[in-house]
């Protein structure tokens, strides 16, 4: 029973940030990697919760990019600087090295042009932070062994309605960065909201990377 496997993964414990909004599990890790007063670009910012979190925790400034009308409206409501744009068109609106850090939080796996956006992130930012659901998690592997496409808390879609078109494992992403000569500065793989202690590619649900050009 696939559903049983899926529900076996408990959702990460929400962290309460600035009122009713709830931070995702990766926010605390991202926040610990962002320097005070950093200038940040958040790609696919949704309602701006991460930028709001970083402004509160790190006095960070910057902008969010969001394509979705509802996200843009929510960001405006939350007082976030939001720029409506399609990430697939690149970051032409931004200068080289304009930001201390460029963040792509749980969006990479849904992008068509993964290589292009990662290159763009490292053009406009000194560092990049990328988070993605780890396809290598044991529950995903188990579901495939049983002959079905995985459905889980971190990948809550069916094969036919998923926006996720470029799923990868922790090992895949290590290889991807290595092949392009990018240097990993930090890597945390979260399992149930905490860093995975052993076999992260098997037990980790959410991968968080910080990297730069060599």
């Amino acid at each position: 029973m696939i559903r049983a496997v899926a529900t076996a993964i408990t959702p990460p414990t929400p962290i309460s940030v600035s009122g009713p909004r709830v931070a995702r599990a990766d926010y605390a890790t991202i926040g610990s990697w962002v320097a005070d007063s950093a200038h940040v670009l958040d790609l696919g910012c949704g309602d701006g919760a991460l930028l709001d979190y970083l402004a509160a925790q790190r006095r960070a400034s910057g902008y969010g990019i969001e394509i979705d009308d509802a996200g843009v409206l929510a960001s405006v409501r939350n007082g976030i600087n939001v720029i409506q744009s399609d990430l697939e068109r690149g970051l032409a609106g931004f200068d080289d090295a304009a930001f201390d850090v460029v963040i792509l939080s749980q969006t990479l796996q849904a992008m068509r042009r993964v290589e292009a956006i990662v290159a763009e992130m490292l053009r406009v930012g000194r560092e990049a932070i990328v988070t993605f659901p780890n396809f290598g998690h044991w529950s995903h592997r188990l579901q495939i062994l049983r002959g079905r496409m995985p459905v889980s808390t971190s990948l809550p879609y069916q094969w036919y309605d998923t926006p996720n078109i470029h799923l990868c494992t922790v090992k895949d992403f290590d290889a991807f960065l290595g092949a392009r000569g990018y240097r990993i500065l930090d890597r945390v793989i979260l399992a149930k909201g905490r860093p995975a202690r052993f076999a992260p590619n098997l037990t980790g649900e959410l991968a968080i990377y910080r990297f730069r050009k060599k």
Partner: protein
């Protein structure tokens, strides 16, 4: 000092349409001090026609200036008691409970100098000659307009606008306020605008001007003396302008190849689009002044704040300190989204507070005047945040929060 309560006339005397500011009264402010102009001349004295809606709060912090585009006026919202069909040009945006809520904000609409709706312009009397200014009226710039608007702000006792807002050419005025009067503006709403005109934009303006100036009844701009108007020129000018306000998509949907009464093999209007453009042209030629139109198109052509900083728009915007909301519309080809993105890019380079909404709308440039749920929601949300910050109306002022 004038009273700052709304110019809204006796609201109970006329049936008020839903969420309208109701019947309004235009006012005129007269200025005796000369206004120096970019062209080197000065207007010795001038009038500014304006309307206000809502109430200026005690701290004078809730005033919003609306800047108009090409051929609009100070009549932004509401209607005239003796002419109830004359509804303000941005009535869907401004009013009680509307995106710019007149129950929270004190809204000022002003007619720009050089126009023909009550502010000093070519149809006004030149005090030096006792005759209409006509062709002798100076060519004005966006900066001249904004300088005059600043005089009106002084007159109304408004040291700092909560926001200056405008679409198209109005957005350019908001941009200029942000650049040259940074201490006097907290928010700039720059809608369907551009940082300057493209060669194509100028080309369209030049066709419009040529249509007017080659009309035999133009008389070098002194047509008043002959008691005529260059109507044919104005009609063509408006027709060409009007095409640029619409989208191909919208024109196709609205008119397509529809015929009025079948093909007649004549040059009478056969297609619906021909008939529509002729109607728009006729209407415009009756109410608009040719000299005013020539000048307002020139003000558009001249606008380019980056000329003061060697072509660098970001440096031109470096003086701005307000927050910006930039809005564009996907099918606008007069001032396409790419032009708004230039403004955003420059502001991002200067690390200014800016949000940018690119509204999916089929209506071309005209979309900024039309109802669109996302567009109006973004503007509404922007003003709601402002209202919360300055504590007018809404949850905070009501003590619920």
């Amino acid at each position: 000092m004038p009273s700052f309560s709304a110019t809204t006339a006796d609201a109970d005397s006329v049936a008020t349409p839903d969420r309208s500011v109701g019947p309004v009264l235009p006012q005129t402010a007269h200025f005796n001090a000369p206004l120096p102009l970019a062209c080197g001349r000065a207007l010795p004295q001038y009038d500014l026609a304006y309307e206000t809606y809502g109430t200026l709060d005690a701290s004078r912090s809730n005033a919003v200036l609306i800047c108009h585009a090409l051929n609009a006026s100070h009549h932004v919202a509401g209607f005239y008691a003796d002419d109830p069909d004359n509804v303000g040009w941005w009535d869907n945006m401004v009013g009680p409970g509307k995106p710019l809520d007149t129950e929270r904000f004190f809204v000022v609409g002003v007619n720009n100098l050089g126009s023909c709706f009550g502010s000093t312009g070519p149809v006004s009397t030149n005090p030096g000659t006792g005759q209409p200014w006509g062709s002798d009226f100076p060519l004005l710039t966006v900066e001249d307009w904004v300088d005059a608007q600043a005089q009106l702000a002084d007159r109304l006792g408004i040291g700092q606008w909560a926001a200056v807002m405008g679409g198209s050419l109005g957005g350019m005025q908001a941009l200029d306020w942000a650049i040259r009067y940074p201490a006097r503006i907290r928010n700039a709403l720059v809608i369907a605008a551009a940082p300057n005109l493209s060669a194509e934009n100028i080309a369209f303006n030049e066709i419009a001007r040529q249509a007017i100036m080659t009309d035999p009844e133009f008389h070098d701009g002194n047509f008043h003396a002959y008691d005529v108007k260059p109507r044919r020129g104005l009609r063509v000018a408006r027709m060409i302008g009007h095409i640029t306000y619409l989208s191909d998509e919208q024109m196709e949907a609205k008119f397509g190849r529809q015929l009025r009464e079948g093909l007649k093999f004549s040059f009478a209007p056969e297609f619906q689009i021909e008939s529509y453009l002729r109607y728009q042209g006729e209407k415009f030629a009756e109410y608009y002044d040719a000299n005013a139109y020539l000048r307002v198109t020139k003000a558009l052509d001249y606008f380019d704040p980056a000329t003061r900083t060697g072509g660098d728009l970001a440096r031109a915007l470096a003086s701005a300190t307000c927050r910006f909301l930039v809005v564009s519309f996907t099918t606008d080809w007069r001032f396409p989204a790419s032009r708004s993105r230039e403004i955003v890019k420059a502001l991002v380079r200067e690390r200014r507070d800016v949000s940018y909404a690119e509204i999916a709308a089929p209506h071309g440039h005209d979309a900024f005047l039309l109802d669109n749920p996302q567009y109006h929601a973004v503007v509404r949300t922007w003003f709601e945040r402002m209202a919360t910050e300055i504590g007018v109306g809404g949850v905070i002022a009501d003590g619920i929060a």
